[in-house]
């Protein structure tokens, strides 16, 4: 049984390369039982979408001054 530490490292790698079937299974089984890692999984994907959103937001700002 892999630890949360190992599973999250795999989840991260899975965002940038194709994991083996064994690795994907290990993640799948683990997150079924572990809500923290399940949250990490969805939040790491969220962080990727946020990065894209940040660029889009930067692009669409009328000028580069942020209101304070």
């Amino acid at each position: 049984m892999r630890s949360c530490r190992d599973i999250t490292a795999l989840v991260s790698q899975g965002l940038d390369k194709k994991l083996s079937l064994g690795e994907r299974l290990a993640i799948g089984l683990h997150v079924m039982m572990c809500s923290s890692c399940r949250n990490f999984q969805s939040q790491s994907q969220f962080i990727r979408r946020a990065a894209k959103g940040y660029i889009k937001n930067l692009h669409h700002q009328p000028d580069n001054k942020t209101e304070t």
Partner: protein
């Protein structure tokens, strides 16, 4: 057919080939210059310079890296021209390399979470709020400099993993570790500074 391909000048640059890289170059420039128009100009100048220097270009494999190299010069030129402007908190210019050492703080010695991610309700709703993007930027800037650079090149600029390694001068193994730590840190920072904040604070913001 193979033969004729080999006889042609190997990797002739053409406009279409250059244009393919425009979005990546634009994002890179935008992150540095924080201004769409300036970024667009810098990219334009870069493509023009690349076109004029195409004789010097060897091998299409490294085209994007080569273009980014030119773009960096254009951006540096810009800063030199507008030297009076103070550059604040640019993504990869901060020097806070203190503890890049480990993700130990996130996990206990048995590999279980120390604390661990809580559940975020409707995270996408944050995208509509300007305040969220300010916090996102703060969290990014809080990363150690090298980590911030690697994460930026991959997730914000959109380079491939091998291009990121080349650009940042890190090994493959280092890449995986760095990206993972960046995600752990960003996740925690967003949770503390945004998702765990009292709801009212967010809903008061009708911009």
């Amino acid at each position: 057919m193979l033969l004729s391909a080999e006889m042609n000048p190997p990797d002739q640059l053409n406009e279409a080939l250059l244009a393919e890289h425009r979005p990546v170059l634009f994002r890179y420039a935008l992150l540095q210059l924080k201004d769409s128009e300036l970024a667009d100009d810098a990219v334009q100048e870069t493509l023009l310079a690349a076109w004029q220097a195409s004789a010097n270009f060897e091998g299409r494999a490294g085209l994007r890296t080569w273009l980014i190299g030119i773009l960096k010069h254009k951006i540096a030129d810009h800063w030199r021209r507008s030297a009076r402007e103070v550059v604040t908190a640019e993504f990869d210019q901060i020097d806070n390399d203190e503890d890049e050492s480990d993700e130990d703080a996130f996990f206990m010695s048995n590999g279980h979470w120390n604390g661990g991610p809580s559940t975020w309700n409707d995270p996408e709703a944050a995208f509509k709020q300007q305040e969220f993007w300010t916090i996102y930027e703060t969290c990014h800037n809080n990363l150690p400099a090298k980590m911030a650079q690697v994460f930026m090149l991959r997730e914000l600029v959109g380079l491939d993993t091998d291009e990121v390694c080349q650009e940042a001068g890190i090994s493959d193994a280092n890449y995986w570790v760095t990206m993972h730590r960046a995600r752990l840190r960003l996740r925690e920072c967003l949770e503390i500074r945004w998702f765990n904040q009292p709801k009212t604070k967010k809903e008061n913001n009708h911009a």
